[in-house]
């Protein structure tokens, strides 16, 4: 497990550096005055936490500081850390085998790549996996998943581009049942959450899964690009309305993206982030641990020790 953590720390160094820098900068404040809170609010906003959440965090911090009667910036920092940890701690929903995982999200967030990584991961855990290429809309999406399925070595159920995605899923469930696979992962076309007809189509897919997938556990995953700003919250809300979400995967966390949107996303939707993507390979999809994530945001100083 230590290697996971180290790996995450290493890959996310860019992500966390700016935040750490900012947060530790607030340590230089001698007083917990308005300047301190302004600076803090700014650093939270810069990490994409959004205005509302940033203000909420700062208000909560003021309240806790008042209760404790503390004046030390060190202690304020610890309080801040616990506030954020509280916000991202949500119970994860365990899957029971066999399960149908449906992967949804807006265009270009990395759904297909994430599916390949998930398939690899479950294979490594000794599960039998099948994928369904239900993104029948985007040019060559079926081919993309096919290439991945060959690389990973899992079965794929597919049709041609332009086919009815519901029929692909229908076939895939029948096939998964016949072959007795543990996990069926369904790719879906990327769709902007404000396209009502496309969201309705997604609801229809879940109905097909519910109807045909008797005996299967169902698990819906939303894939979110970590570079997305406040729009991610609306994405989360709308997709959660259309298909009940069980978990979130944050991709592209290895950029300099702040990924701060994780915090309002979890705290507002109450849906846990299950994985974060920090690179191109299957090993780069790592389980998200709220406590570790927060620790890492604040874990300054150790980096230099590691380097030496």
């Amino acid at each position: 497990m230590a290697s996971f953590f180290e790996r995450m720390k290493d890959r996310l160094s860019k992500t966390t550096d700016s935040f750490k820098e900012k947060i530790s900068h607030t340590l230089y404040f001698r007083k917990l005055d308005e300047d301190y809170f302004d600076e803090l609010e700014e650093s939270l906003i810069l990490s994409d936490m959004g205005m509302e959440t940033s203000v909420k965090i700062v208000e909560e911090l003021k309240e806790r500081i008042r209760q404790r009667g503390t004046t030390a910036t060190e202690e304020a920092r610890d309080l801040l850390k616990s506030i954020m940890a509280d916000m991202v701690t949500v119970e994860k929903k365990e899957m029971t085998m066999p399960v149908i995982i449906m992967v949804v999200g807006v265009n270009g967030v990395g759904k297909t790549t994430t599916i390949a990584k998930l398939a690899q991961k479950y294979m490594n855990e000794g599960k039998t996996v099948m994928v369904a290429a239900a993104d029948t809309f985007r040019a060559a999406a079926v081919e993309q998943l096919t290439v991945w399925s060959e690389r990973v070595g899992v079965d794929i159920v597919k049709s041609h581009t332009g086919a009815d995605p519901a029929s692909v899923i229908f076939d895939a469930i029948a096939s998964a049942r016949a072959k007795g696979v543990d996990i069926l992962i369904c790719d879906t076309a990327g769709r902007l959450h404000n396209k009502v007809n496309l969201m309705n189509e997604l609801s229809k897919l879940t109905r097909v899964i519910d109807r045909e997938g008797e005996g299967f556990d169902k698990h819906n995953l939303l894939v979110v690009d970590a570079t997305t700003g406040q729009n991610a919250l609306i994405q989360g809300r709308t997709f959660n309305d259309a298909v009940h979400l069980d978990g979130i995967v944050m991709t592209k966390m290895d950029g300099t993206a702040r990924g701060g949107i994780v915090i309002p996303l979890i705290s507002e939707l109450g849906v846990p982030v299950e994985y974060i993507g920090i690179g191109e390979t299957a090993e780069d999809l790592i389980p998200f641990e709220a406590a570790d994530f927060i620790d890492m945001l604040y874990d300054e100083g150790n980096d230099e020790a590691d380097d030496q």
């Binding site: 994409d48 509302e52 729009n231």
Partner: protein, 448 residues
């Protein structure tokens, strides 16, 4: 609540200002803070927001707002002006030369929409500018990316250059350019693999492609929903490649497109196109002023202000201003004002240009009756004698009865008009004395 509320938020800020007859520094500071919050919710980069609010409040503290009779409107105009300016001002067209080989290179993060955008641009320029495009598949990393471009090319009947088995994007790009030159193409659009701006090896590869094929346009494709990070992405790509422009994608979502403001401000490079849908024809030339309205969530206020300004005769406006100061503004002047407003169009059509005109608040508002009201008012004044119009004070009970009969209205209608006129005259008197302290400024119609 982030975006649904934004348009309303701006409405609130602006309508709060519009109600005020005079703005002081506190008002401006308060509005500045509210604008700041609203922009942050729209994902405009924090540093850009700071700079923006700074330049807005500096201008707002100047004479044009403080001394204006309609400070709220002036303030809004400044916000809109500044935003349009920061978005690049005028429309920047794509750069191409006829009878020469134009080479475009698409770059950006993974999933921004480079491949789709490459196809869309090729299609657009073939249709609008009669260029003969060749699409080049240089994304050798993502599975089926080449296939994706080939499918799009086939759909549009645009040739796609791809080299099976060649893993070096630089080599593909170089060969594609030579191929295009030999085969009568005048536009080459190179689709490159998505990459993180911090990935040194892959960024070097883009540099190599650029150095070898010397593109005439390097277009950075940015997801319109990008958050605070957009600044870093744009900055790094621009520093390394000296991009020539930006394409903003997925603008058909409900994003406010704060990335637009951040990207232009950071790089100084203009946005040339926006992607507005999944169809291959869904691409538009970027208009900074429209984007400003979009980010601000307001209607076409600028057009309205321009329209009002063009309709009002400067000479006559100055005369009215004098009258107002001297408190000799009478019903004749009032009638003229009314006519001027009506010349601009019906109230309903004017309201449509206003921010929030589609909001819930206006749903119950009967605009047709407002139009009818102004017709009635005109009729009443027309039934008055010139003497009565110049001296409304002489209009007693029997005169009121006559006027009501003459205009086909009731005495109550006449009373309402006279009362309203008296009130606005008092208001003008106050403003007039306030004006004397200041220097020359233009008189504005009260409805603004």
């Amino acid at each position: 609540m982030a975006f649904e509320g934004l348009s309303e938020k701006f409405d609130n800020i602006f309508s709060g200002l519009k109600r005020k007859g005079k703005l002081d520094e506190t008002d401006i500071k308060k509005a500045g803070r509210e604008i700041k919050l609203a922009l942050l919710e729209a994902d405009v980069n924090y540093k850009v927001v700071k700079q923006f609010t700074k330049s807005v409040s500096e201008r707002a503290k100047g004479e044009e707002v403080l001394k204006s009779l309609t400070p709220g409107q002036q303030f809004i105009k400044i916000v809109n002006d500044e935003m349009t300016r920061m978005l690049g001002g005028d429309v920047q067209k794509i750069d191409y030369r006829r009878d020469e080989l134009n080479v475009f290179m698409m770059v950006g993060l993974q999933g921004a929409g480079k491949t789709t955008t490459a196809a869309k641009i090729a299609n657009l320029l073939r249709k609008e500018e009669k260029l003969t495009p060749l699409l080049v598949a240089c994304d050798v990393y993502r599975p089926a990316a080449i296939r994706q471009l080939q499918v799009l090319g086939k759909e549009l009947d645009i040739p796609v250059f791809a080299l099976e088995g060649e893993n070096d994007p630089v080599a593909i790009a170089v060969k594609a350019k030579a191929y295009a030159a030999e085969n009568g193409f005048d536009l080459v659009i190179i689709d490159t693999a998505g990459r993180l701006q911090i990935d040194e090896a892959l960024m070097k590869e883009l540099e190599d492609i650029r150095d070898r094929v010397e593109p005439t346009e390097i277009l950075l494709v940015v997801d319109g929903m990008t958050g605070q990070e957009s600044v870093n992405v744009a900055d790094e790509f621009n520093k390394l490649l000296d991009i020539s422009g930006v394409v903003l994608t997925k603008m058909d979502g409900d994003t406010r497109g704060g990335a637009a403001l951040s990207v232009t401000y950071t790089t100084g490079k203009s946005i040339k196109f926006i992607g507005t849908g999944e169809k291959l024809s869904d691409i538009e030339v970027f208009y900074p002023d429209r984007m400003a309205s979009r980010i601000l969530g307001m209607g076409d206020v600028l057009s309205l202000i321009d329209k009002a300004q063009s309709m009002v005769d400067d000479e006559r406006a100055r005369e009215l201003e004098e009258k107002m100061r001297a408190n000799t503004f009478d019903l004749n002047d009032f009638l003229e004002q009314l006519k001027q407003i009506r010349e601009m169009g019906s109230f309903s059509s004017l309201l449509e240009m206003l921010p929030g005109a589609n909001s819930k608040a206006l749903k119950g508002f009967d605009m047709a009756s407002t139009d009818a009201q102004s017709i009635k008012t005109e009729a009443i004044i027309n039934s008055m004698t010139p003497k009565e119009r110049a001296n409304p004070d002489i209009i007693n009970g029997s005169r009121r009865k006559r006027i009501a009969n003459g205009s086909g209205t009731s005495v109550a209608d006449v009373n309402r008009l006279l009362k309203g006129f008296e009130q606005s005259r008092k208001m003008m008197k106050q403003m007039g004395s306030m004006q004397k302290k200041g220097r020359k400024s233009r008189f504005k119609l009260p409805f603004m």
